[in-house]
């Protein structure tokens, strides 16, 4: 630490240049922080999903609904504890730009397959007994200001009613929470009672379940049970593809392109740009100070100590820029209005930033540091 002043003053020797470099670093890390927060949103949305749930979809596509009669068949497969069916509703609330998912399910089976959701007993009973009932997650209810008893009209882009209309009215009978913070953060969806959904549909579509959600007795079984389910329906009209929930979600996200890959690609470009810029600053800063570094060696600083001084300078420069940029990014993600996706500067993002700082400091600091280390005193003093 006693070298701090030496490093600090060396860094701000050319104030303007250092300030510009720090600003560029800050801007880069602000961008990196946001990009990685987006990445985290997608990675995080599946990472926590356990392997104790399987999603059974039609082999061709999950948009192809499976028939209801398969449910008891799946439930008899050893290892399966409880099965529910789930149909993506694809509804739009008035002209809100905020999208949220709705699933038509069997209310009785929902909480057996998703014990992570917590709901009041009476509300649960009402969901089961109300044909046009719906329950909404706490965060979703809060963002629209919905209360129990409200009627929510949803315009489905997939499901047409038998009278030709696409407008479905759902009565909110309950609001559910998550069992912990992670799940609470995901209370941004809505479950619809399959009753009104199936009855209202055009007759041709009735009896179609969508996909099946199978909760397992033990998560270790997931691969074996998935294979059992698929082999049971092999060569039938309704061949299946069974994945755990995490794989299913990833597949769902991939629909919109590999977002993680895109974010990392842009992050890479940002890092590359800042690497060139900061690298130039550092090498320039050391080049100008060759005689001074030689004097330090004269005074008894060893070659390695001088190497470390330059590396520390590089690390300090990158750290300052990153701290400002990440600070801004964390503030921004913390202050997003509720109708934005829940971007968060989480541990994964901080870890990414930390590794980037270290890698960057090393990459831009090492070449000039090695040059400083190899510096021959007599040559440097004579200006050779």
């Amino acid at each position: 630490m006693k070298y701090f002043q030496l490093i600090w003053t060396a860094l701000f020797r050319k104030k303007l240049r250092t300030v510009f470099t720090v600003l560029s670093l800050s801007a880069a890390f602000l961008l990196l922080g946001l990009l990685q927060a987006v990445n985290s949103l997608f990675a995080g949305s599946v990472e926590f999903l356990g392997a104790d749930r399987l999603i059974v979809q039609a082999r061709t596509s999950f948009t192809q609904p499976l028939p209801m009669r398969m449910m008891p068949q799946i439930e008899t497969i050893p290892g399966v504890a409880r099965v529910n069916h789930s149909q993506f509703f694809g509804g739009q609330y008035q002209d809100s730009r905020q999208q949220f998912p709705q699933f038509a399910v069997n209310p009785q089976r929902l909480f057996d397959t998703y014990p992570e959701w917590v709901i009041d007993k009476d509300q649960r009973a009402n969901f089961i007994s109300t044909q046009d009932g719906a329950i909404v997650g706490r965060e979703l209810a809060n963002s629209f200001g919905w209360k129990v008893g409200d009627i929510v009209p949803l315009n489905s882009f997939i499901w047409v009613k038998s009278d030709g209309s696409r407008l479905w009215e759902w009565r909110i009978v309950g609001i559910f929470d998550g069992k912990n913070q992670e799940w609470q953060d995901r209370t941004q969806l809505m479950y619809l009672n399959y009753g009104q959904f199936d009855e209202g549909r055009s007759p041709g579509a009735r009896g179609l379940a969508g996909v099946f959600v199978a909760r397992l007795k033990s998560p270790e079984d997931s691969q074996r049970v998935a294979a059992l389910i698929d082999s049971k329906f092999e060569n039938s009209v309704d061949e299946t593809k069974t994945q755990n929930e995490q794989e299913f979600q990833l597949g769902f996200i991939k629909q919109f392109g590999d977002i993680g890959f895109m974010m990392n690609l842009i992050s890479g470009a940002v890092i590359f740009t800042i690497l060139i810029l900061t690298g130039y600053t550092m090498s320039q800063a050391v080049r100008e100070r060759i005689p001074e570094l030689a004097v330090l060696k004269c005074l008894g600083f060893t070659d390695n100590r001088v190497l470390w001084l330059v590396l520390a300078e590089s690390l300090l420069l990158c750290l300052i820029g990153a701290a400002i940029g990440m600070g801004l990014s964390a503030m921004l993600t913390g202050a997003l209005p509720p109708n934005f996706p829940p971007l968060r500067t989480d541990q994964r993002v901080w870890l990414f930033a930390g590794c980037t700082v270290l890698g960057l400091a090393l990459a831009v600091g090492l070449p000039p540091a090695l040059r400083a280390k190899r510096l021959k005193i007599v040559d440097a003093l004579a200006g050779r």
């Binding site: 006693k2 001074e292 004269c298 005074l299 008894g300 007599v378 003093l381």
Partner: protein
Amino acid sequence: MNTSVSAEQQPLVEIRALTKAYVRGKQVVEVLHGINLDIPDGDFVALMGPSGSGKTTLLNLIGGLDSPTGGLLKVNGQRIDEFGSDRLAAWRASTVGFIFQSYNLMPVLSAQKNVELPLLLTDLNARERARHADIALQLVGLADRARHKPNELSGGQQQRVAIARALVSDPKLLICDEPTGDLDRKMADEVLTLMQQLNGDYGKTIIMVTHDPKAAEFARRVVHLDKGVLVDETTR
């Protein structure tokens, strides 16, 4: 008593058949051709000679900034010609102070912090380092300029800060390469008087390269170098 006498009789710097050659491309150029020289503890030697005669080269060898090609070089009882680079660095920190023609101060640090630099390599804490630097600055008469940056000081003052930096770790030996080369007569005389004082009152052994015969008059002894050999010596 006996041992201490024999220790005093041993010169501080002992140079035998010292050679130094530089490799330039495929060419090997010998710059020093077998120098023999003894410098006793407490001496003040002026090293004179034409440009390119090898004065700086010899001085750098004695100060442990470079290693000789051949011969023997013993300083303060140690064969520094056999030291590796890290050991040499530690040896320099404890034994030698350097004073250059162009002062070579850190432009961004105050006089005080410049003087403290060599102490960063010691175990002294921040307060002790500041105290030592204060004393050194007092010694060169610049205690009141401690907070000034080098560019806020005159050439003579900067050189005195450099002398304070060379002194602060209390080395036995001061190595000075044309210390007054950039100074006018008046400032040069101030600096030389200070050096004489350090030699007389504090027993520092000083080796100073100079082109200026007036500067050489401040030394106890003048050694002449020409084309890499010692040619002549005058003792005052």
